[in-house]
Amino acid sequence: MNNSSTNIENPVFSTESLALVHKIMKRYPEGKQKSALIPVLHLAQAEFGGWLSPKVMDYVASLLSIQPIEVYEVASFYTMFNLKPVGKCLIEVCRTSSCWLLGAEDIVHHIERKLNIKEGETTTDGMFTLKTVECLGSCGTAPMMMVGADFHENLTLEKVDDLLEKFRVENKQSRYC
């Protein structure tokens, strides 16, 4: 763990993350710091429990000197930002075209049965959230699911079982970045 305040009532980035935020802001021209919004929201989501609370978004707005609504507008547009709490392990199964042709529905139903949740829900112990997502560019290795930044491809039901077990044992917060 780092020294960040995970208290989402009063979110403050860790020193290292804050340094990274400033580094990211420097990638864009003077006065265009709003460009850093998406990368910084990714960092915020990773650091503050896997989702973006209004307080966290307001904090990001203040870092970038923009209005809070500008953050809400953006955060609610992109599917990778969670505006509600999610489980520690966020499972995202691709449901589009080639994955679907090769059995994505089976994968989703299997996970639903196994975890006793429906797509979009979180297990009661807060461990898993199951989401379906659109094409992640894994069509040649379909079906697939993404957990954090990791792609798990050429899935079979057995492979899914093994992965779920592994995630449970590791007990790690999944994060994209």
Binding site: I69, E70, Y72, F77
Partner: protein, 317 residues
């Protein structure tokens, strides 16, 4: 100056004029309908697609037709351009399709909507829509919310024209509302409960083409066609003070900005004029408001001396 021909009418317009502006210069009969474009709001237009027209000749220099219908509000006139609007069956057909899309998820609650009678979507549907709907699924709904103590947001009626967002961006400091989510669940929202509280927020009501943003001080007080519009003005430190008072008997039910033949406000007004000055004594009365031909109110002919004969006492200066 470039010359453009729209539905057979030729007009010379300044460089940079859009097809829609040129058509409006020719006259309201030629002008394509516009649900999102607003000449007083920079970067407005392009979203609703009701103003699409066919460009049958791109310009004198390059006479090729444009391959797709274009949004007339965002397409600049070129010299020698030839445009078909109402003379093109194809355009009318395409516009009918757009109206169908705009109505697909609209609640059609006109009987209880305060905007009825001055609703642009109503007029558009009447002029360009089909007589029945082919949409057979449950319509999208949102909860009604208050954004501030004077404005009601009824998102279910919204057509996402973005005008209110542009008002907030261009007329007020520190916008607190915007468009959240995306696709067909995109909505106008403050996201967290938040009041839109600034001196010019009331203009969002005037620019809203439908009944999505309504004046809470006027809600359910009267049908607009039972009220009589009167031009009036007052000395105001924050706006021009030029308004329309909407009377029922002796009572001012509502104050709005003055709107032109295309339904656009002539000058934006402040919230003090709009919400806090509801007494005749607050105003200098100019006389009956000439309402454009589209409005049912224009059938409600009346003369200056019939307006509020009793309580209207011109202010003595």
């Amino acid at each position: 100056m470039p010359k453009v021909t729209i539905d057979g009418h030729t007009i010379e317009v300044p460089e940079g004029t859009t097809i829609l502006q040129a058509a409006r210069m020719i006259g309201p009969e030629v002008a394509p309908p516009a649900m999102c474009y607003y000449s007083k709001l920079a970067t407005s237009g392009g979203y609703c697609r009701t103003c699409i027209v066919k460009v049958t000749q791109g310009s004198e220099k390059d006479p090729r037709p444009m391959p797709k219908p274009v949004a007339s509000c965002r397409t600049t006139v070129m010299d020698g351009m030839v445009v078909e609007n109402k003379t093109s069956a194809e355009v009318l057909e395409a516009r009918k399709g757009v109206v169908e899309f705009l109505l697909a998820n609209h609640p059609l609650d006109c009987p209880v909507c305060d905007q009825a009678g001055e609703c642009h979507l109503q007029d558009l549907s009447y002029e360009h829509g089909a007589s029945d709907t082919r949409y057979e699924f449950e319509r999208r709904t949102f909860d009604k919310i208050d954004i501030g103590d004077k404005i009601k947001l009824h998102m279910t009626r919204c057509i996402l024209c973005y005008r209110c967002v542009k008002v907030a961006d261009q007329l007020t400091p520190g916008r607190v509302h915007g468009v959240i989510n995306r696709g067909d669940v995109a909505e106008i929202s403050t996201y967290i409960e938040n009041a839109i509280d600034n001196e010019f927020s009331g203009n969002m009501i005037d620019v809203c083409p439908v009944g999505a943003l309504t004046d809470k001080t006027f809600r359910f007080k009267s049908r607009v066609w039972f009220t009589k519009p009167v031009d009036a003005h007052r000395e105001c430190s924050s706006c021009s003070g030029k308004v329309v008072l909407w009377y029922q008997g002796a009572e001012v039910l509502r104050v709005t900005a003055r709107k032109d033949a295309f339904g656009e406000v002539e000058e934006f007004i402040c919230n003090t004029c709009r919400f806090d000055k509801k007494q005749t004594a607050d105003w200098v009365i100019e006389g009956p408001r000439k309402i454009n031909a589209h409005s049912v109110i224009s059938a409600n002919h009346y003369e200056a001396d019939t307006v509020n004969p009793g309580p209207v006492t011109p202010r003595l200066n």
